[in-house]
């Protein structure tokens, strides 16, 4: 349902009223912006000297290094979490009960514990065994961050993949066994490729979360973008004050651009996937559910449950975008378990 159903095509009176609302609304939004600028101006944030610091080569190098170390953590943790997610998903679906129980326990524990708690615990652990750890010991904060992110996001990716594997029609597996394929072959040649293909948008959305969570490195004093920017701002004095506000605005813009780029990739893949007629349906580019036991609230495929709330004859097509909304946020509901279209084919 597009939003226009909520109100009629305006008649002459309503058109006048809408114009009035538009003017008042614009005035309110503009007023907010003007107020913010006014306050910033009063506090001297808009002085040219404050913004001149970004022309300084040292400041630029600092920000560049911050971005690079954020991306370094993100790349390593992203790849490792995908690998761990695959392993955990396969382990959880294993026919050997102990393996499956272990994987389930691991996933449920680390998914329910705040990532910060895990990262901090790892950091303290690494610090106290610094000398015995070799490479890890030299870079404790980096490895605590990478391993913490890997463990948490690996668990989430495992659940996403498992939902994807469960959405593959049962008949395909039976057909594969009937052809004489072995368990490993069914998993590697049949289930995982289809699950990855259908879940790719959701997995990339989780990678966006991974990217945002690298900022937790600030708390364990790892020199990623946020920490680098903060220490830099503390060391610069312009007009008798630290230019924290200006630095925060620039850093925020960098983060938003990075995240938007990644999530628009997810939305693009989702659109592309919807055009294809083969295979199982492609999931929405939504962040997967955080709740312990929400993704696995039902035995077997997610599809029927997730699809149930949909209005009859009302496919959640990307076409229902509200006019004027940004391109990056598609028809996704954050935390919607698995997306609405799973297992409908």
């Amino acid at each position: 349902m597009s939003s226009s159903v909520l109100y009629d095509a305006p008649g002459p009176k309503a058109r006048v009223r809408n114009v009035v609302y538009t003017v008042v609304g614009s005035a309110a939004v503009l007023g907010l912006i003007v107020f913010a600028i006014y306050r910033l101006n009063i506090k001297g944030v808009l002085e040219p000297e404050v913004w001149d610091i970004f022309n300084n080569a040292g400041v630029r190098a600092n920000i560049r290094d911050g971005v690079l170390s954020t991306l370094k953590v993100f790349a390593l943790a992203g790849v490792l979490s995908l690998v761990l997610g695959l392993l955990l998903a396969v382990a959880r679906l294993s026919d050997h009960k102990p393996v499956s129980w272990l994987a389930t326990g691991f996933i449920e524990l680390f998914r329910a514990v705040p990532l910060l708690i895990t990262i901090y615990a790892l950091w303290v652990l690494f610090l106290s065994y610094k000398d015995d750890l070799g490479v890890v010991g030299d870079n404790t904060a980096f490895w605590a961050l990478v391993i913490g992110l890997t463990v948490y996001n690996g668990c989430v990716q495992a659940e996403v993949l498992r939902a994807g594997i469960n959405a593959v029609p049962r008949g395909q597996v039976e057909a594969a066994y009937a052809l004489g394929l072995r368990k490993t072959q069914v998993m590697t040649m049949l289930l995982v490729p289809q699950a990855v293909r259908s879940m790719l948008p959701t997995m990339i959305s989780q990678l966006v979360v991974t990217l945002k969570d690298t900022s937790l490195g600030y708390i364990i004093t790892y020199a990623e973008l946020l920490y680098a920017a903060r220490t830099m701002a503390n060391n610069i004095i312009v007009n008798g004050e630290n230019p924290i506000t200006a630095v925060v605005i620039v850093v925020g813009a960098i983060y938003i651009l990075l995240c938007l780029a990644l999530s628009s990739l997810a939305t693009w893949i989702e659109r592309r996937g919807r055009r294809a007629k083969t295979g199982i349906a492609v999931a929405a580019a939504a962040e997967p559910a955080e709740a312990p036991g929400v993704l696995d609230a039902t035995e077997g495929p997610l599809g029927p449950v997730a699809a149930a709330p949909e209005a009859p004859g009302e496919p959640a097509a990307p076409a229902d975008e509200v006019p004027g909304s940004s391109a990056a946020d598609g028809p996704d509901a954050p935390g919607e378990p698995g997306g609405p279209d799973l297992g409908k084919s």
Binding site: A112, A121, V124, T214
Partner: protein
């Protein structure tokens, strides 16, 4: 074992702090989220734009950055003299409101077309349609995603502990600074969070069952 028993008051304080912070910022996020979702479907373009900008801004900013803003920018520029708890409340509430807004909006999109059309044809205005017809029906589809949003909020509230608000992560930090074995502290703090998150998912499942109507 002893870490828990010897420091029961700290753990209790931290646990209560986490619960209170989650409840308060959850409430703020709900109110803001529903209002912004209303903006995003409204007939007035500037409000729609404002809603979209709000969601894009807060969904793509790391929460730690928002905490930095709440700590070092908001007090200087806008409102001096906020206490840490309020600042944490604002950061968490604003961040989560973007997610609530998206959940509510997609809930609105699942209400059958005919409902809003019927409401319009008996002469209801936009606000009446939204308030009396669409939002009550959207509630049912919004509850499952809301549950996971609140669980995420509980986990996100740990960041407040790093900014010296009393809650469970603060307890972990305090005790590990005192030199207790991190493994036990981790286990007990994790248990505290597990209790809260399972309570939330249980409550929401109950709510879902109470509100569930065959359609």
């Amino acid at each position: 074992m002893n870490v828990l028993l010897d420091h029961l008051p700290e753990f209790r304080e931290g646990f209560i702090g986490t619960v209170l912070l989650t409840l308060a910022s959850g409430l703020l996020a709900m109110v803001l989220g529903v209002v912004i979702a209303g903006f995003r479907v409204s007939p007035v373009p500037p409000l729609r734009f404002f809603g979209a900008a709000w969601v894009t801004l807060f969904r793509n900013t790391p929460l730690t950055l928002l905490f930095l803003v709440a700590w070092f920018v908001v007090p200087v520029i806008f409102a001096p003299g906020l206490n840490p708890w309020t600042k944490a409340l604002l950061a968490l509430g604003f961040y989560t409101s973007a997610f609530v807004c998206e959940a509510v909006r997609s809930g609105i999109n699942t209400v059958p077309l005919g409902q809003a059309e019927a409401a319009r044809s008996i002469g209801m205005t936009f606000f009446q349609t939204l308030r009396l017809i669409v939002l009550p029906q959207a509630t049912r589809t919004v509850i499952p995603p809301l549950s996971s949003i609140f669980i995420a909020l509980t986990k996100n509230s740990a960041i407040a502990g790093a900014f010296s608000v009393t809650e469970l992560f603060g307890v972990q930090k305090l005790l590990s600074d005192k030199g207790f074995a991190i493994a036990w502290i981790f286990l007990w703090v994790a248990l505290g969070y597990l209790v809260i998150t399972f309570t939330i998912s249980g409550l929401f499942r109950l709510l879902e069952r109470r509100m569930g109507v065959a359609r």
